[in-house]
Symmetry: C2
Subunit: 114 residues, 2 copies
């Protein structure tokens, strides 16, 4: 079954999607989009949730490979890691293209055989 291929691609990117699926985490990613590094306290300011909650979200994002943190002095700076982002994008691309191909094949088969 060909679906297995796409299934495995989706499965591997599932943590990334799950990570981006939470609004609070999506907001964190958006704030990190500027290209700079930000400390936890700074990320928590104006987030509407406590610093500890932000820390948890950052760990989820890190587990998905979306962000990485570096310690500098007494603060930990977090930055975006776009590799997994691109991987997920490619995954969605593959799926929608596969859908298009299947539809056009279906079209051809209808025109030719029916």
């Amino acid at each position: 079954m060909r679906a297995r291929r796409f299934s495995s691609a989706l499965q591997s990117s599932a943590p990334v999607f799950a990570a981006l699926g939470d609004p609070a985490r999506a907001r964190l990613v958006a704030r990190l989009c500027g290209g700079g590094q930000m400390s936890i306290t700074r990320l928590a300011s104006g987030a509407g949730i406590t610093r500890q909650a932000v820390t948890k979200h950052l760990h989820v994002l890190a587990d998905a490979g979306l962000v990485s943190g570096v310690r500098r002095g007494r603060e930990q700076l977090w930055e975006l890691n776009p590799r997994q982002l691109r991987e997920a994008r490619r995954c969605l691309d593959t799926i929608s293209r596969q859908w298009d191909d299947a539809l056009s094949r279906l079209q051809v088969s209808l025109e030719g055989g029916g």
Copy 2:
């Protein structure tokens, strides 16, 4: 703050990401990638979960705009709806490109000013 723009893009695609984040739903999407329509019972066969659980997942996917179902006789056929998929892909694309732009700007600023 410029991050607002990307935040809203991410927020609007968040349901799509959340929907794809669950392995069971990702598997359903993968099975629907073939371009055809499938009934609930057929989707449930070999899924490892009950038909009712599959139904719930399909509703989540439908709420995210990823699938749509049509009634035919006594069975309901579900098919993929790639529009939201493309939207989400474009969203990830925007983010990673924004990241690249920010990094290159940072590079230029470092070369020019320091």
